[in-house]
């Protein structure tokens, strides 16, 4: 490789360094801010009237929205709003009581997780679902399961097709490790890595499957401000360079409102907003949901008088 790896991030004081795509010379068209970049007309994923309850407790009630192809869709809401449950419904981990999920050209009452994976859906989990007994490289390689052509017998006898699989998958996995900056941890067992790194490995595993739709469940949780910035750059890179649509759940609303093209806000399992980040930030219903409504306020007296 002739040019040294363009540094996506400096180490010490964070200096905004050129994103890969910026390195490319080319006409920079000026565009009035706020003008909608053209997303795919047909939504890559659509949820209609989704209701879900566990042992009588209603987690989601009549939630519906669409994710356009190529966009970053933020999913936010205070604690216990049902964000993770919704992601589990999208990815086939939960079966909703009512409603349908439109993905991969078909409507599903329940998404079959393996089917969804074969049609380009990949995801990460809120409390890291890595394969703890395996190394970083093996975890990312497992993301490549669907691209394996050789049968188990060919792998045992290391026949040509199995060898070709191994070489190709290893090369692609190394690229993902390189991008995530975890290349030199490739042989360490995942369970022993620091939290921020485990989050990246899980994202690496999802990216290894080269998804068209990436579902991220709190990818920034437990990270320092600098690590959050680095991860945000990466999500942006994946979306802009590959056109991968992203559904992003996150508590750090600052980053979500900044990254997302479209934001859905849940509160107690109900959709209370579905709009652009700017409008969601000013929406009184959203602010109340977060800051809490205080019915009993009798004038300005505060503190236990």
């Amino acid at each position: 490789m002739s040019s040294p790896a363009p540094q996506l991030f400096e180490a010490e004081a964070y200096v905004r360094s050129p994103a890969l795509s910026e390195v490319v010379p080319g006409p920079v068209a000026s565009r009035a801010p706020g003008q909608e970049p053209a997303f795919g007309a047909e939504p890559i994923l659509e949820l209609l009237h989704i209701s879900l309850s566990f042992k009588g407790v209603r987690a989601l009630s009549d939630v519906g929205f669409a994710v356009r192809a190529g966009e970053i869709c933020g999913l936010i809401g205070p604690n216990g709003a049902g964000k993770s449950s919704l992601l589990n419904v999208m990815s086939g981990v939960y079966r909703p009581q009512q409603g349908s999920i439109h993905f991969g050209g078909r409507a599903h009452a329940r998404v079959d997780a393996a089917w969804a994976a074969r049609h380009g859906m990949a995801r990460t989990f809120q409390n890291i679902a890595l394969f703890r007994g395996m190394t970083v490289l093996d975890n990312v390689l497992t993301g490549k399961t669907l691209s394996t052509r050789a049968t188990f017998l060919e792998q045992a006898l290391t026949l040509p097709r199995a060898r070709r699989d191994a070489v190709r998958q290893r090369e692609e996995a190394e690229q993902v490790l390189g991008l995530l900056g975890i290349a030199q941890h490739r042989d360490s067992v995942v369970g022993k890595l620091p939290y921020g790194l485990q989050k990246r490995v899980e994202l690496g595993r999802a990216l290894a499957a080269r998804p068209t739709l990436l579902l991220l469940d709190e990818p920034f949780a437990g990270m320092s401000a600098q690590e959050k910035q680095a991860m945000a750059e990466l999500v942006l890179e994946v979306n802009t360079s590959l056109g991968t649509s992203v559904v992003l759940i996150e508590h750090d609303i600052g980053i979500v409102l900044d990254l997302a093209d479209h934001v859905v806000v849940l509160d107690y399992g109900r959709k209370i907003a579905d709009d652009t980040p700017e409008r969601v930030r000013q929406d009184p219903a959203v602010i109340d949901a977060y800051l809490g409504v205080d019915h009993g306020a009798t004038g300005a007296s505060a503190g236990a008088s």
């Binding site: 086939g92 994976a117 990949a122 995801r123 679902a129 093996d138 669907l146 792998q155 045992a156 290391t158």
Partner: protein, 342 residues
């Protein structure tokens, strides 16, 4: 274990041992060690790598042994190795059947279906005399061991046959377990929800693990009957044997090919050492009954020790010792203070 260590061991195993070791070493130590290592490897594939606990290894060994015997008996001119493979495949079939419940029940509770296999196969082989060719005593001698005209029935011949079969199957297993199939097994073991979402077919992967594991136990059973005992009988392949194979992978190291061998070596050598120790120390005052109980207590305590102190078994201990040796050697060659501080 690096490539060249394995090659040296194989060269030694095939080149030197057959001419040096005496009959006792072959039949009492080397052949049982290799056979139990293969059974341990089989169980490790299912329990260590795929995370499905099984207490039925001995049943699959018995199924393999009887199937091979019957194929050899009823198919004239069948090459010996073909009966090995057919024995393995029969055990594999039975393994899949008893693996089906893993669709509905997970990991630990699966011991019910593998225990069912253990009792059912044991019962069927004793009750239906067709399996043992209507032999009244139910104990049948193994067929002659000749491959390509070579008579391998002498202890050294049986050892070479066993070593050959075990070496080939171990190579295949380590290739498989380091490839995508191995990763799928471990994914299903570690987090099956995440495995499903990555596109791994959960049931198919579990059944494949059952099939391969039972194949290995089946072939181990054939070796056990043909090369070790010389007789085909379900008696020695009961629940106690399944426990023993489970102990081999706990002590040796779960999800480790090397661990299966270390565990088997430990399980085979310990009683032998205990006997000598007993003869030496108590000059034979310990009656055999108590010796067996002492062994039981020792095994039980070792299981607890390994589970609590070193959950990854001897394999982990060996690799730690190995690394220390390597670092010691490199230190001695260039003892510059800077490097030793790194």
């Amino acid at each position: 274990m690096s490539r060249w260590v394995v090659l040296v061991l194989l060269a030694f195993g095939f080149g030197v041992v057959p001419f040096v070791a005496d009959d006792y070493l072959f039949s009492a130590i080397l052949i049982p060690f290799l056979t139990l290592s293969l059974a341990g490897l089989g169980l490790n594939i299912l329990t260590g790598y795929a995370g499905q606990l099984s207490l039925g290894s001995a049943a699959f060994m018995a199924a393999g042994a009887f199937a091979a015997y019957n194929f050899q008996l009823r198919v004239p001119g069948l090459p010996l190795l073909a009966s090995f493979i057919l024995g393995g495949l029969t055990a594999s079939l039975i393994g899949v059947v008893f693996g089906l419940p893993s669709l509905r029940i997970k990991g630990f509770y699966l011991i019910v279906s593998t225990l069912a296999a253990q009792f059912f196969v044991g019962w069927a082989l004793t009750k239906f005399s067709w399996f043992s060719n209507d032999n009244p005593s139910g104990v049948i001698s193994a067929p002659p061991l000749t491959i390509l005209g070579q008579d391998l029935s002498a202890p050294s011949g049986r050892y070479v046959l066993t070593l050959g079969v075990v070496a080939v199957l171990t190579l295949l297993a380590s290739n498989l377990l380091s490839s995508q199939t191995g990763r799928q097994f471990m994914a299903v073991r570690d987090m099956d929800t995440a495995a499903r979402v990555t596109g791994i077919p959960i049931l198919r992967t579990k059944l494949l693990a059952f099939a391969i594991s039972s194949f290995y136990c089946g072939v181990a059973g054939v070796l056990w009957a043909f090369c070790y005992l010389g007789t085909v009988e379900p008696h020695g392949l009961d629940l106690a044997r399944s426990f023993q194979v489970l102990f081999i992978i706990i002590i040796g190291g779960l999800s480790s090919v090397v661990g299966s061998f270390l565990g088997a070596a430990f399980i085979v050598l310990l009683p032998v050492l205990l006997d000598h120790a007993a003869q030496g120390l108590f000059s034979g005052s310990l009656d055999p009954g108590n010796l067996e109980n002492a062994q039981k207590v020792l095994f039980g305590s070792l299981i607890l020790f390994f589970l609590i102190k070193e959950p990854e078994g001897l394999a982990r201990l060996a690799s730690v010792v190995g690394q220390r040796l390597v670092s010691l050697r490199s230190l001695r060659r260039r003892p510059s203070p800077r490097e030793s501080a790194a």
